[in-house]
């Protein structure tokens, strides 16, 4: 075993995270902000960030914040889901809000996603800006829900195993209500146009993954499952 990257100390909460390979062959890592919202805005901290690494752990020379900085995007709170859209190569990420505003973000190089020390569930500002107001030009989520669902794993359904309608859809899980959700993206696949829960499990949904030609898989605290049509 080789350690490729060692981040800052873990904390009592919000440790995240998830790792995926991008279409560019790089390793993308999302790490929570360790329950220190301000760290999500500090580019020198690995916490509250989506990081981009070479597969051997080196920092790519074309990273947006400099060749020595693994940060790719910032302003993240606590994520357990990240996936690449196989149709566009875009990186999407789920982020858990505090007592409000669970969200899904489309991750863009160098952008901030607004979580920071000014975040609040009070209004104004109106949601989702109240939890996404820190940093320069904070990017708002493509989808959000005011009452937290405990959003978890995220995947893209790239085949018709769940039916024609689900091909290309985004699938994600939730921890609080044991559900699996399906979201439909816009025609340019940059935004989310509609979302609904399509399945309620007996336990909390932890991780969701897809394998082309094999459909959607998910896990709970006791097992692994495949989501199939009735």
């Amino acid at each position: 075993m080789t350690v490729l990257f060692r981040g800052a100390s873990a904390g009592s909460q919000h440790n995240g995270g998830k790792i995926v390979f991008g279409d560019d062959g790089m390793l993308y890592v999302v790490i929570g902000e360790r329950h220190s919202a301000g760290l999500a805005q500090k580019l020198k901290s690995a916490l509250g960030k989506v990081l981009r690494l070479e597969p051997d752990g080196d920092v790519p020379s074309d990273n947006p914040f400099g060749r020595r900085n693994p940060a790719y995007a910032y302003g993240i709170r606590n994520s357990f889901g990240m996936a690449v859209d196989p149709m566009t190569g875009a990186l999407w990420e789920t982020d858990n809000g505090p007592e409000c505003n669970d969200e899904i973000n489309r991750i863009i190089a160098g952008r901030g996603y607004g979580w920071g020390s000014h975040a609040t569930c009070s209004t104004p500002p109106s949601p989702p800006r109240n939890t996404n107001q820190d940093g320069e030009r904070p990017r708002l989520p493509e989808w959000w829900v005011r009452t937290p669902i405990g959003i978890t794993g995220l995947a893209f359904c790239s085949d018709r195993r769940l039916g024609h309608r689900s091909e290309g859809a985004m699938i994600f899980g939730d921890f609080n209500f044991n559900r699996i959700h399906r979201a439909f993206l816009s025609s340019n696949r940059r935004t989310i146009e509609a979302e609904s829960a399509i399945f309620t499990h007996v336990r909390r949904v932890l991780s969701v993954e897809a394998e082309s030609g094999r459909g959607i898989f998910f896990s709970d605290s006791k097992g692994l499952y495949r989501l199939v049509p009735k």
Partner: protein, 139 residues
Amino acid sequence: MVRGSRSRRWTAVSVLACAALLAGLPGPAQAKGFRARTLIKGIEHPATFDVAPNGDIFYGERLSGEIRVYVRDRDRTRWFFHIRKVVSSLTSGTGLLAVTLDPAYPDVPYVYALATRRVSGSVGRRCCGSPTTGARERR
């Protein structure tokens, strides 16, 4: 990571890579249109997994730091790797957090993991090499 005092220890979020050695029951409750087909049950907190091209599923047990493989053709699991010194707690969201396969797996036989680990200088030297540039090793 070896600069700390003798007794100093901390928990770090680490990205790890390890080389690969190898290579239904009724579902739970249903909602509209879909159901869950159980692949394996009775395992401990598989908070993360990835599906290999042959259908095998590499899953990480969050609390123990064990990575196991559900071998689809044999409908059984086997041990793959143990990430040592994992610090885990369900309340703090720590443990073995993420597992993913190299996109070219199994031709490139690496498995990547994200975990919170208790790190001391001696452990860092022995098992991990340089934290940011260490070459991967084939086990």
